[in-house]
């Protein structure tokens, strides 16, 4: 990577815009990130309440899914009667 690209990447890391910050906040949930990214994100979050909310909200939704798996599965559907019988028959073999 040539010098110019390297400078540009570092600038983006240290001074992310909101679009970039939303990507970084998501990535941070799955992967440790280099210090420059974390630092740049931290600076951005100091001054941007929308991005602070974004981070809180995606974390909230992730935890909600993890902690309430049963709720995610609720529905009116189930095995069709044909499937049910077919499986029972198979099991008896």
């Amino acid at each position: 990577m040539n010098l110019w690209n390297r400078l540009r990447t570092t600038a983006t890391a240290l001074l992310p815009d909101c679009r970039e910050a939303s990507r970084v906040q998501s990535k941070l949930l799955d992967h440790p990130l280099p210090a420059s990214r974390r630092f740049g994100l931290g600076l951005h979050l100091l001054v941007c309440k929308w991005c602070r909310r974004y981070g809180r909200q995606i974390r909230f939704l992730g935890h909600a899914a993890r902690d309430h798996q049963d709720e995610l599965l609720k529905s009116d559907c189930g095995l069709s009667p044909e499937a049910r019988d077919r499986i029972k028959r198979r099991l008896r073999e």
């Binding site: 815009d17 909101c18 679009r19 970039e20 939303s22 990507r23 998501s26 990535k27 949930l29 799955d30 992967h31 941007c48 929308w50 991005c51 909310r53 974004y54 809180r56 909200q57 995606i58 909230f60 939704l61 992730g62 909600a64 899914a65 993890r66 309430h68 798996q69 709720e71 995610l72 599965l73 609720k74 529905s75 559907c77 189930g78 095995l79 069709s80 499937a83 049910r84 077919r86 499986i87 029972k88 198979r90 099991l91 008896r92």
Partner: protein, 207 residues
Amino acid sequence: MQPDPTSNPESAKPPGVLSEPSQWVDEHGDYLFRFALARLRNPVLAEDAVQDTFLAALKGGRNFAGRSAERSWLTGILKNKIYDHFRKAGRETSFTDLQFYNDEDSDRFVAEGAGQGGWIHELGPQEWPNPGESLDNELFWRTYRDCSGKLSKNVAAVFNLREVDGLDSREICALLDISESNLWVMLHRARMALRRCMETNWFDKIK
């Protein structure tokens, strides 16, 4: 007079064998089907996965105290069946389909000029006061299910593997045969779309 143990067919059953298989279907069939359907998004595949699960469980033959332990065990087997499917399907279907990667809420960021890349304020994330309280609300969960349903099949699969099953990035990449950068784009997409949908359809409405 003592009953003759050798004439009683029940005593021939090895100790610790699970309850009647046909009981499993009635007790756990619907639950497992819904689980599989949520992951595979295809009722036929889901039925097959459930059948394979019961067949594998029959061979396994473990002893369990209680219905919920039995269900957890069956769910574990089902998850592996689903993961097997993903491993095979990964090569055929396009988990790397870049078509839907492009619109990450582009309409909500300032496109050009001063403030480019920033949230357009009125369209940015709004305040969600006391979101935890919604977790007790059945309608919240119905909305969540609907919003998850709107995610494309592959994006939803990745979200489930990561957020619900808790697999780490490396495991998911190995399972689906995708690169880390594909993975994080899909997760970003899922989180962004879900957040937006929940804001529009729940949090904005309960104000």
